[in-house]
Symmetry: C2
Subunit: 185 residues, 2 copies
Amino acid sequence: MSTYHHGALRPALLEAAGKILETDGAGALSLREAARRAGVSHNAPYRHFPDRDSLLAALAAEGFALLKHEVHLRPEGDMGMAYVEFALRHPQRFRLMFGGLLPLDDYPELRAQAQGSQASLQRAFADLGEDSRFAAAAAWSLVHGLAHLLLDGHFAEAQRASGGVAAFARKVLGSVRAARAQRSA
Amino acid sequence: MSTYHHGALRPALLEAAGKILETDGAGALSLREAARRAGVSHNAPYRHFPDRDSLLAALAAEGFALLKHEVHLRPEGDMGMAYVEFALRHPQRFRLMFGGLLPLDDYPELRAQAQGSQASLQRAFADLGEDSRFAAAAAWSLVHGLAHLLLDGHFAEAQRASGGVAAFARKVLGSVRAARAQRSA
DNA sequence: ACCTGAACACCGTTCAAGT
DNA sequence: ACCTGAACACCGTTCAAGT
């Protein structure tokens, strides 16, 4: 009880909010419910977050840090797959990070974090096209769009035929890699 | 005044809701505000839509029909660009269609409509990779991801250097096409 | 500094009526 | 059949207090 009154409320709120986000999505996340789960009044969160958006922004920031970490655990050739797998493992977090719900102009640090994940993919797919800047954008677009469309269930049948989401994703990314390989041959 | 009481309320609500969607986004769209703009009580919409989600679903359906129409106006090689341009021209509509806000499992006709836009892109990018099914998925993913990332402003600097969003998008899509061309040479 | 409780203006949704 | 008005249980946010 008294622990929350001693400076641990902010992380407690983030944890409670994170759970709501994962299970019900950002749209269902209310400050009041997070406060309830943290055992404080509906008003206590305002000591730690100026408004609802800034709590969502903090959750998105956690997500960007985790995404960067998971992508960097992989060898370069597998970073695209790591990106897709992150989205599949944390669908609601991914939607919060990239769903346009947050006014990114008000949170420039979030956009910077998002571009941190692009820097890695750039190297991974650098030879997708000639100009490396456009190639990097194409690489990020490819894995980002694939992640989104998988989350929306738009490849449901194809996934079944491929034996699972991950196997399907690997084949889609692999088909582009194959085109690149033939080009250099 | 009395016109709305004679069967024209449904389209009037869709029009009012569409305007709110375009200016403030799906999150800010309330049934009560749509009803207000249509000049009826906050409760009248329930005669035409069972709940808020089904109004959003109707707006998304309009979007999918428009997307399909605009994509089919272009020659095959330009359909990817048409897809991106649709997203840029109707950002909030695009986010509603693909932002995960709607429970697509409850609206199977929407998912069918979404896949209608893929059918065209499949032909347009059919030689991106060997297996045409995976190549089609890669093509849709590429344009879809590019559209999303452009809307989120993640390519802001690169866009400036390229002289505008559309020019940048064209170069990104072109860089993939260039890789394909080199491969067949 | 951090938290509580009352208050206000919004929602979505339901129900009982009105025409 | 279609619409209104009252009502209920939620929100985000602000303000005046409490410790």
